[in-house]
Symmetry: C2
Subunit: 539 residues, 2 copies
Amino acid sequence: MATNVKIFDTTLRDGTQGEGISLSVEDKMKIARKLDSLGVHYIEGGWPGSNNKDIEFFLRVQELELVNAKVTAFGSTRRKGILPEDDANLNRILEVGVPVATIFGKSWDFHVHHAIQTTLEENLAMIYDSVHYLKSKGLEVIYDAEHFFDGYKNNTEYALQTIKKAEEAGADWIVLCDTNGGSLPHEVSEIVAAVKQAISAPIGIHAHNDCEVGVANSLAAVMAGATQVQGTINGFGERCGNANLCSIIPNLQLKLNYSCITASQLESLTGVARYVSEIANMHLPVNQAYVGTASFAHKGGIHVSAILRNASTYEHITPEQVGNKQRVLVSELAGQSNLVFKAQELGLDFNNNNQQSRQLIEQIKEMEHQGYQFEGADASLELLIRDAYGSLEEIFTLESFKIMVMKTVNQPVVTEAIVKMKINGESVYNAAEGNGPVNALDNALRKCLLQHYPALKNIHLTDYKVRVLDEKDNTAGKVRVLIESTNFDNTWNTIGVSANIIEASWQALTDSIRYALIGQAKADVHTEEQKERHGLVNH
Amino acid sequence: MATNVKIFDTTLRDGTQGEGISLSVEDKMKIARKLDSLGVHYIEGGWPGSNNKDIEFFLRVQELELVNAKVTAFGSTRRKGILPEDDANLNRILEVGVPVATIFGKSWDFHVHHAIQTTLEENLAMIYDSVHYLKSKGLEVIYDAEHFFDGYKNNTEYALQTIKKAEEAGADWIVLCDTNGGSLPHEVSEIVAAVKQAISAPIGIHAHNDCEVGVANSLAAVMAGATQVQGTINGFGERCGNANLCSIIPNLQLKLNYSCITASQLESLTGVARYVSEIANMHLPVNQAYVGTASFAHKGGIHVSAILRNASTYEHITPEQVGNKQRVLVSELAGQSNLVFKAQELGLDFNNNNQQSRQLIEQIKEMEHQGYQFEGADASLELLIRDAYGSLEEIFTLESFKIMVMKTVNQPVVTEAIVKMKINGESVYNAAEGNGPVNALDNALRKCLLQHYPALKNIHLTDYKVRVLDEKDNTAGKVRVLIESTNFDNTWNTIGVSANIIEASWQALTDSIRYALIGQAKADVHTEEQKERHGLVNH
């Protein structure tokens, strides 16, 4: 039977220390629900002793009735020179009504001297008293041994004394923390094995990614006997981030035969990773292991021809095991295999030797040369392919537009757009205001179209990105606009490139609407869950 | 004495397989120069047998007169059933005049059957013949054993036969490739050690990051006896990327005492990582190990107070060893230690108890609540601090602006802006065209100001980013605009937040110019090298 490893998620506490990450109480509630459905065993919700927002979270999280996860509150050992019952920080943990306390203490003599400025003896007493106090109140206590690896390297005997004190006081878990992320896997492996000889409490690992080995350190610890892994979704966290649970869980489960969550929970991993990244308003790197949009994307022509024959030639797992999927990228490097793949998806007979296909390849190469990148704009690519095969109906054409933006000091900006277009041969003329030129243009365009296509009211722009292209050949001074749209059921991406940001936006905008109108995007199904996933519902 | 490990960079070949990466010949030339100055030993420039752009690179790279690096061309073993001298792909390697050939062959029986569809014997002959042919022409030959780890796990004996064939034929290096990135460090460690027993040629490692252990796999291989590491700058590469040299090099050198490059070359690492990311037009994740802007950034108030006392309490190396630096982030989580740090940098007497400081903290909290994030906008933060301390002079005030954008079908978009403002009490009125509303506004604003501040002509906007804020409390429907500006000597970032994109852009734009005008940005030094670093020179 596979050994069980407990997953301790600290996205809501250590994760929020990452640059650019700030979570409201609502955000934390949403993420907690997702983490619970993913099947993590512990959710560290915050530090009630340091932050009022965290206290509110602990009070409200009880409404959620989580099924899998125990909620835990973080705090430090008592302050020097006082009784634990007089320590506000420890009492806050008790007040917020959690079943599990996670408290950290010092393992590194250097930190005892320089950070908390007390004696080695008093630090041991602080650890003992704090764990003992929380245990006496009936809580499960996880003891986080801060800077344990540095402490162990610097003064082995003292570092071991600190965790023995926590064990003696009744700690349920001893978690070894590589707080500054400076240790390497072989060290973690050796030290965890040594600790396993020295104590009998179950051991956990808390790693950071400062040497880009946070995942490997966590695996090394488990292989040396740790049975709890602390980390965050997408590796969010201070500096280079915490160890990334989205890589640790599949590595443990699919590669090393440990048991953490169920197979069907694992299939929700990609969805959870992307959801958390949306809620945290953090861009998910396309190349993130397992869950990135490029994790199973193939670009090299030679790889693409091989995976068309047999996917396992270049894929280390079946992407669906983690809820991801295979993609084939179109690019000048790729030869034609990739276009064949896309055309097959669309049910078109793509033949390298016919004239349409050759013209299309030339057209795409030329557009890539001009700064287009279809890798992130599947919908625009599909429109190009359909157009080349004559299967794209021209639903509307622009005649003109005009946008005005006006501001007077101390007054808000006013933005208006006027659009004149032909829809199925009929002239339409309309105007709208907006929160900026593209939004006004979008609103005016929709007002024109909605009379003919009422289903458009379910289509929303969910992201709008502008990128100034580098001063390369052919792209000097150009911008690339990417627009993401959704009907709650599907999400699609379109692109525009031009020296003028409005021209580029117009291209991406009309591609988005054209794509919606050809019926590829099914505008009829939209559950609450899907709306929520796209962050379009206010609670 | 430290063991030498050779660094083999494949940013220009395998790196370009990454999603969104496309390098012109000019780009490749610039990157090759940087890689050489960083001290890498091999630069793999491309695959001349598959790509004409790569051939041009090999012909032109000879102009560069590289000091440290040998240039190598990539290719596959000969096709099945032909003589090596009849193989166009091998001959292309000879034609491009490189001293080193890197050829890959199949190690995994499954791939022999399914990808190249030949016999196991013919595959061995293909390996032998190809290496032997290139050796007979006087080249150094690096043999890349594709999918070696999967091959070894599936059919150990055959996998070993393939590399023994390469060795027999005279290969100078046998590089074990984890092509699909599916192996873990303990496997790499065991298999490299076993190979070391089986062959006497020097061994290299080529890892990918699909399990987020590309760096750890490379370290494991070196510790098991490999003396060459293949990887890319920033881990660029197909799917989840190649092993990241920017983490491997400092890990090997600062943590494991191997010798790769000189200490002063290592100090250029952060600069090289950021340069390559700019040229490749790829966003460098802020939390990238060692070289990210957040790698040594501290946000948690407790960490900040500790590092103010002693940096090594929370930093695993001195950032300057890799050319990076410590930063302190300002955020609602941080308490006041972080603002103290910033104010000290500005030479201001920040005192938590005076009224100015308390008001400033409230103001920043309120702005963060509205969607501002000063972590990425140091210049805007500095203006706020200076303003609170009364040390910010009001140089100009807006009276009004008006922007018009017009398009008629088949005609380019026309954009004009009219600005009316007071500069040092005098009314100024001017108009300009632009490549979009913000550019037109920027141009008109500069036309107004240039008469009074001619130094502004050296200030350029280098990046303009727009982000739609998630539907959170207080930020519904808002956009955040970040502007990066440079005078070639310094780079600074400013921010604007509003429901209207033009309003937000105006805030960021005027902050950028205000910052330039208070003389923090020294507009007088701009060497060619610095211009080039900012991608502002056309070659």
